[in-house]
């Protein structure tokens, strides 16, 4: 047999084998959604999917859904689930208060240890069941029982009672701002426990959208459609369909946005963001997040045990230079609590002062005319913003005769080392799981025998006592809580110098200009509440 005939035989065998394999069985892509009979031969169907009058296209850079269970979900799916599920309340970062959602009003008693929520009437789950106090109780109890994701936010709860169909009563073990807890983007959803589907074929929420199709790993991973029985009703201007087009590359996302194939890009780099601001049919939105960078100094051991050295380090950071270098992806922080949260202080912007830093170092026996000081620092590998901070800090410290031995690490390695008190300076981001500044103080600055997130290793009884009082104040007297947060920040940042807070991360979004009503709510990172949007005519 001639060689090319042999090749032909081999090729044919391959094709036959493939066809045989193909005949083993088949399934429809996107099954679980609403596929319709094949009739897509018209020109409209052949056109590239355009963001049209009825579909809002969101371009995330990561997988859309990793966990469909509203009890345990704790990742990227917050964007989709926040439109499928609702909580009792939703946080308003402008008023810094929780607002009605499934609960229309609420009261607290017994010093913040008893909370009664009045539920909205006439609300249906996607399953068709009625949302009432018994259903809400079951949902929260299931979330607590599953112990996954951010379920710990309900830790203060001792007992839940469905007093009647519209009254839900919580009795707590200790005082807590339950209206804020209930507004969390994670673990606070009210859902029909009998309709939860871990495979994402159906949804069990009360939100304005329900699932249309989910195709794991595909470019258009998820499509949502309007829930016709939504309690808020629908108007013609709203988007009744939403799709998520996973776009890892920023440049690709930018091209798709320019062509109108996507409506919303959750992040652009500073250069493209600037370009977007000057492009027709595209508008940009910049807003501060609730995530800030903490530079934690080791207060327990090593040279930074000396408060004067910690203060000198705070003074050596070029805060304005750093904010400028970040080109809009971060803005200079004021205090530890980001803007939009109760406890934010607007007059605590740090200022660098190398002269004063040198004096403090001299008092501690270091500085230009003294022996060299070597400090170890760990930060997140691959984070360009943190790298920028380290570069600027290293060069400033060189002038003060301090050598910074900075090491980029994966979070797990950095955290492991941090728990062993293995560095002088630990750099990390912090964000709250529900919109409450308490998260920073409880987790990062309350004394711990075995460090977990208190990676400055601060142990101060007075600070601990003040932190313990915060939940009750938050639950009963917002003004006093605000003052308490301010006092604590002064103690921790100025007196103890346990931390420096150089910047708060900033969201840089780009949208097509025909989208109206977009508001970036930092309490729900990267979430677009599609129901609130309207398309311009």
């Amino acid at each position: 047999m001639r060689w090319h005939k042999r090749l032909l035989v081999a090729g044919l065998t391959g094709v036959l084998a493939m066809t045989a394999a193909a005949c083993a069985g088949g399934q429809v892509r996107g099954a679980g959604g609403t596929p319709q009979p094949a009739d897509g031969t018209g020109p409209a169907a052949r056109q590239t999917a355009k963001a049209n009058d009825s579909t809002f296209v969101y371009a995330p850079n990561l997988d859309v859904v990793t966990d469909w269970d509203p009890a345990t979900s704790y990742s990227n799916e917050i964007v989709a689930l926040s439109n499928i599920y609702e909580g009792l309340t939703r946080y308003n970062f402008q008023t810094r208060e929780a607002e009605p959602r499934l609960a229309t009003e609420w009261t607290s008693a017994d010093g913040g240890k008893e909370w009664t929520f009045k539920l909205r009437q006439g609300v249906k789950f996607h399953s068709g069941a009625t949302m009432d106090a018994a259903a809400a109780k079951k949902a929260i109890e299931r979330t607590i029982r599953k112990k996954g994701g951010a379920a710990y936010i309900w830790d203060p709860v001792d007992r839940i009672e469905a007093v009647d169909a519209t009254t839900l009563k919580f009795t707590l073990k200790r005082a807590a701002p339950l209206d804020l807890v209930a507004s969390s983007g994670y673990a606070a959803y009210i859902y029909d426990v009998d309709a939860v589907d871990a495979d994402g074929k159906t949804t069990a929420g009360t939100g304005p959208y329900t699932i249309d199709s989910w195709q794991k790993g595909k470019e258009t991973e998820l499509t949502l459609k309007a829930f016709e029985d939504y309690w808020g009703g629908w108007t013609p201007e709203q988007y009744r369909k939403v799709s998520f087009r996973v776009t890892p590359e920023i440049t690709t996302a930018w091209q798709l946005l320019q062509k109108g194939e996507v409506n919303f890009v959750q992040r652009l780099n500073p250069q493209l963001f600037e370009q977007a601001g000057m492009t027709d049919n595209v508008r940009t939105a910049r807003s501060p997040s609730f995530q800030n960078l903490l530079v934690l100094f080791n207060t327990a051991a090593g040279p930074t045990k000396d408060v004067r050295i910690r203060q000198a380090l705070q003074l050596a950071i070029d805060y304005d230079g750093l904010a400028a270098a970040l080109k809009g992806s971060g803005s200079k922080a004021s205090g530890m609590v980001p803007e939009g949260l109760l406890g934010h202080v607007s007059d605590m912007e740090p200022k660098p002062d190398l002269g004063r830093a040198q004096e403090l170092l001299a008092e501690a026996g270091y500085g230009p005319d003294n022996p060299e000081l070597r400090l170890s620092l760990t930060y997140a590998q691959g984070d360009e913003d943190q790298k920028m901070l380290v570069t600027l800090l290293s060069s400033a410290l060189k002038k003060l005769n301090i050598t910074l031995q900075a090491k980029p690490m994966t979070w797990s390695a950095q955290w492991d080392q941090g728990k062993q008190q293995g560095q002088d300076i630990f750099v990390m981001y912090w964000y709250p799981d529900y919109p409450d500044a308490y998260s920073w103080f409880l987790n990062v600055f309350k004394s711990e025998d075995e460090p977990r997130f208190n990676l400055s290793y601060l142990k101060d009884r007075e600070i601990d006592a003040a932190i313990e009082k915060l939940p009750e104040l938050m639950a009963t007297d917002a003004l006093k809580a605000d003052d308490a947060f301010k006092d604590l920040q002064k103690k921790i940042i100025e007196e103890q110098a346990a931390v420096a807070v150089p910047y708060v991360q900033t969201y840089q979004r780009a949208l097509t200009a025909d989208v109206k009503g977009y508001v970036d709510n930092p309490a729900y990172p990267n979430v677009v509440f599609f129901y609130d949007l309207q398309r311009a005519r």
Binding site: A22, Q27, V28, A38, L62, P248, T252, T410, S412, A413
Partner: protein, 338 residues
């Protein structure tokens, strides 16, 4: 032939075993607690303990290796940290799309690379030869991400000839849902006669396939040229000339067959190479293949997913070489004795 096949298969298994051990070692050498990566950045000590117990992380390393190999053999490739799905399922979803892209690219590479290689050999040291050599050198050396971005910007962004990104128009999922058989969209659309999806996929495939095809086209053209020139200097070519055959006939009728043997081996190698080389291209064109999955796995330091991709790519390399060995033995019996 059977002994030859058994020998090659044994060697392939050894290579795979080596890769498994190496992958496991690297996974464990990465600093940091793998339990943290699974349980999340704010994991409680209890959650960390549960993750450690679930994955046997407290066991001695040899025990963990044995368990890892046992799991791999039984089809358990671990759970991805970023998708929370079994790695095997993730790969099953992603790999066919990569296969589709690289398959199309190799088709372009073979259809273009071999004829231009013949052309260059036929007109050695003349203008067509210089053109082919320059072009193939350029195709081999241009960075793939640059080419991808440039073509995307020009042919999709500016000229609007092709879509910017994606595998096919996703609205077709509603109007012309595709029945899956092989998970390779083009093949499934062809088998089921789903012409809207087939045409849309082919339209979306052009740009990424051209980018991935650049490197294989260049090396195949160069290799074809070099082996043909070598073959045309052999004794049999002199005899063929003496018998009155023209240069083109000698090249295409007599020299091409022996010259194709090394080209075939090269195709297998560039096939496996292109799977990895295509990772960046996939990310740029939103192609739902291994590349996007691997990129996300690397970004989130998802060691089970990275190990899964590594192992799969190693298997592709080994399998591609095995197929070439068998094919070479089939085409040229002398190869079986080597």
């Amino acid at each position: 032939m059977l002994r030859y096949l058994a020998r090659r298969l044994g060697q392939a298994l050894l290579v795979v075993a080596g890769v498994v051990v190496l992958t496991f070692t690297v996974m464990r050498l990465v600093p940091g607690d793998p339990a943290v990566a699974f349980a999340g950045p704010k994991a409680t000590p209890e959650e960390l303990d549960a993750a450690r117990e679930r994955f046997g992380l407290d066991d001695p390393l040899p025990v963990q290796l044995v368990a890892y190999v046992r799991d791999l053999v039984t089809g358990d490739w671990g759970v991805s940290l970023h998708t929370r799905q079994p790695v095997r399922d993730d790969l099953y979803l992603a790999f066919p799309a990569s296969l589709e892209l690289v398959g199309a690219a190799l088709l372009i590479a073979v259809v273009v690379g071999i004829p231009i290689g013949v052309l260059a050999a036929r007109y050695k040291t003349k203008f067509p030869d210089f053109g082919v050599r320059f072009g193939s050198m350029l195709a081999v050396s241009v960075p793939v991400f640059w080419l991808a971005l440039a073509l995307q910007l020009l042919l999709a962004g500016r000229l609007d000839w092709f879509p910017v990104a994606g595998e096919y128009d996703s609205s077709l999922d509603t109007t012309s849902p595709l029945t899956l058989w092989t998970n390779i969209t083009v093949v499934d659309a062809l088998i089921t006669g789903n012409w809207p999806i087939l045409t849309s996929t082919l339209h979306h495939l052009v740009l990424p396939a051209l980018v991935v095809a650049a490197y294989p086209t260049g090396v195949i053209a160069q290799m074809t040229r070099a082996t043909l020139i070598e073959e045309s200097g052999q004794d049999h070519a002199r005899l063929e000339r003496a018998l009155g055959f023209g240069e083109t006939s000698i090249l295409t009728k007599f020299a091409l067959r022996p010259a194709l043997s090394p080209v075939l081996a090269l195709i297998a190698l560039v096939f496996a190479y292109s799977i990895v080389n295509g990772f960046l291209v996939e990310a740029i064109f939103n192609w739902p293949g291994l590349g996007s999955y691997a990129a996300e796995a690397i970004r989130s330091r998802d060691t089970p997913a990275i190990a899964g991709v590594t192992l799969l790519v190693a298997l592709v390399y080994v399998l591609a070489n095995l197929v070439v060995d068998v094919l070479q033995g089939f085409l040229d019996p002398r190869a079986r004795t080597r």
